[in-house]
């Protein structure tokens, strides 16, 4: 029974500490993802970056007036396309991949009512879901025709698809980690309320595909641009 007052005291101190030093923010915005993989052997093929959404809950805990530790759980999309070009135009695949990530880092802050920050950190991410949309030349739809010179032309109809990505343990690394660097700005609107804006750059250090000898890794690099509000718990 003697533990009860100790626990009570602990939570009292913790609550006071949180009130004095912690802020919580909500942000929403968009992501721009680039996928890097070895495809230069593939004829008339190009990778394009993709846009998606980004939603973040940011928790900041003050260590000093200029230094915070941060945790910013994020739900974001890392989208990209691999498209055929030239005479194969129309063939390609658009990937919409949704990740949940937990970046933990530091925030170096400068300013009073208007503040700017630099936020380095590391993150752990999990590939929640994926969707693939694209078109492919349907081999059984091929129609040949012969020109007056006897030359044969093959016409392949494009078949389109749009369906959930089927994960495979043999292929996909769903857990990924990497580093993140953010730049932020905060403006105290009134009392404990701030308007915030952040740009973050996520660089995965885990290949999206499990390694194969001779095959290079496949990485996502993602920019996010978000804006929102932040609430300080208690007065500083």
């Amino acid at each position: 029974m003697f533990l009860r007052p100790i626990i009570y005291l602990f939570f009292l101190l913790l609550t006071n500490s949180l009130r004095a030093q912690t802020s919580i923010g909500l942000e929403g915005g968009f992501s721009s993802n680039s996928f890097s993989t070895a495809i230069s052997n593939r004829v008339s093929t190009q990778i394009f970056s993709g846009k998606g959404f980004d939603g973040t809950v940011s928790v900041r805990h003050r260590l000093f007036s200029w230094l915070y530790i941060t945790a910013t759980p994020t739900l974001l999309q890392k989208n990209y396309s691999i498209e055929r070009t030239d005479s194969f135009y129309g063939i390609g695949q658009h990937y919409r991949n949704t990740f949940v990530q937990l970046p933990i880092g530091l925030s170096l802050v400068y300013g009073k009512r208007f503040r700017v920050s630099i936020d380095p950190g590391l993150y752990l991410g999990y590939w929640l879901s994926g969707r693939v949309e694209g078109g492919i030349a349907n081999i059984f739809g091929v129609i040949d025709s012969t020109g007056s010179s006897g030359q044969t032309t093959e016409r392949f109809p494009i078949s389109n698809y749009n369906e959930s990505y089927q994960f495979q343990n043999r292929r996909d690394n769903r857990w990924q980690w990497g580093w993140v660097l953010g730049v932020g700005a905060q403006y105290r609107v009134s009392g404990n309320y701030w308007l915030i804006g952040n740009t973050r750059y996520y660089r995965s250090l885990t290949s999206q595909e499990k390694p194969i000898t001779g095959m290079g890794p496949s990485y996502n690099t993602t920019w996010t641009f978000s804006a929102g509000v932040m609430w300080e718990i208690g007065n500083h």
Binding site: R42, S44, I47, G141, V142, T152, R171, G216
Partner: protein
């Protein structure tokens, strides 16, 4: 409907301009050593081979075992060249792709044929068309085309059996090309006869199609011939393709249909004669036709080479070269039948198995044909 157009046979495909991203997983320059040759072949198999999802070959194990072996070989040494062929044969002997053929300048490795030759039930191929003629009513047609593809002449037979069973057989599939040929051939009147009888003769009660000993050919012949039997699409399976360099990078499965090419569907019995040498389009045609409710297959289990072939550039997968030493023929897409099963390396079983009997055939009795005629009546 969007389409892409490929001018066949032109190397333009591989030289069209393209923007590329990321380093290639293998070199484009000719290998100077066996070590490089092995690396290029092994890596190109990673990228281009279709069946890594179901193939039981331990390709990483192949690398661990044979990389040091090839590192010790001298590409200028004739004995080492001969040894390398033996090693390539060992490396590839378990691949399930029955289209897989690895060609060197003076030798060929064909794991599927090697398996056929090792089969205790092995028999040599037999050309059935000459035997089919003995079953045909007088007035049947024999067509041939030696000009469109001189290396692979096309021979076809069409006629009637017992007055109301329409028969067609061909030694390979290049029917559309011969039919459209501007140089003229006897395939054209034969096909005109067959199509007009199929679609216009009310006395035709059934059709027998013979694809025994047919090694395949042009994929476009599927719709060209099978399409004449239907006035609506016939769903018979699915295909998928490589979508990246990873072994397991695939597109989703795409529906495979026979495109209709007739004003009305043929509703009578259609019997397909197939055997263990019905391969590639020879067996895909039989499988696709079998998806029609009025079609049955008689004969033997087919060869098991169900993945169609086109030039590598179309899908960035399938057949490839490690120039100037090796040319590899392998499937361009993976085919799954309408029942959800992949028959690559296994073959498609007939509805009515009838054993091959060479002695009976030589004496004028084709048990498979007899069964087909019985079912057609």
């Amino acid at each position: 409907m969007r389409i892409i157009i490929i001018i066949s046979g032109l190397l333009l495909l591989t030289s069209v301009s393209c923007k590329k991203s990321g380093p290639a997983p293998f070199s484009d320059s000719p290998p100077a050593t066996f070590d490089q040759l092995f690396d290029d072949f092994w890596n190109k198999m990673n990228v281009n081979y279709l069946y890594w999802d179901i193939d039981t070959t331990d390709w990483d194990g192949v690398y661990r075992r044979y990389k040091p072996v090839f590192s010790k070989l001298d590409i200028q040494n004739d004995q080492d060249l001969a040894a390398s062929v033996r090693y390539f044969r060992e490396m590839t002997e378990g691949l399930i792709d029955h289209h897989f053929v690895l060609s060197f300048m003076d030798s060929t490795i064909d794991p599927a044929i090697d398996r056929v030759l090792r089969d205790p039930q092995y028999r040599s191929p037999l050309s059935y068309l000459v035997h089919d003629e003995s079953y045909l009513d007088s007035g049947y047609l024999i067509g041939s085309d030696y000009k469109t593809d001189p290396a692979n002449p096309l021979i076809a037979v069409a006629g009637k059996i017992q007055k109301n069973i329409l028969f067609f057989g061909c030694n390979r599939f290049s029917l559309g090309a011969s039919f459209r040929s501007v140089t003229g051939n006897s395939i054209q009147p034969l096909l005109n006869y067959f199509f007009s009888e199929l679609q216009g003769d009310p006395d035709v009660k059934a059709v027998i199609l013979d694809v025994r000993d047919n090694p395949g050919g042009d994929v476009a012949d599927l719709n060209f011939l099978a399409g004449r039997f239907t006035n609506k699409p016939v769903h018979f399976g699915y295909t998928r393709y490589k979508s990246g360099n990873g072994r397991l990078n695939y597109t989703p499965w795409i529906t495979a249909d026979i495109s209709p090419a007739s004003q009305k569907s043929f509703s009578g019995p259609v019997i397909i004669l197939a055997d263990r040498y019905s391969a590639s389009m020879g067996e895909i045609f039989a499988m696709a036709m079998r998806a029609m409710p009025n079609c049955k297959i008689v004969g033997e289990t087919t060869f098991g080479a169900t993945g169609p072939l086109v030039e590598n550039a179309v899908y960035n997968a399938g057949s490839f070269n490690v120039s100037p030493y090796i040319a590899v023929e392998t499937s361009s897409s993976e085919f799954k039948y309408i029942d959800g099963k992949i028959y690559e390396g296994k073959g498609f079983a007939p509805d009515f198995p009838v054993s091959f009997n060479r002695a009976a055939i030589n004496s004028g009795i084709d048990s498979q044909m007899n069964k087909a005629i019985m079912l057609a009546k």
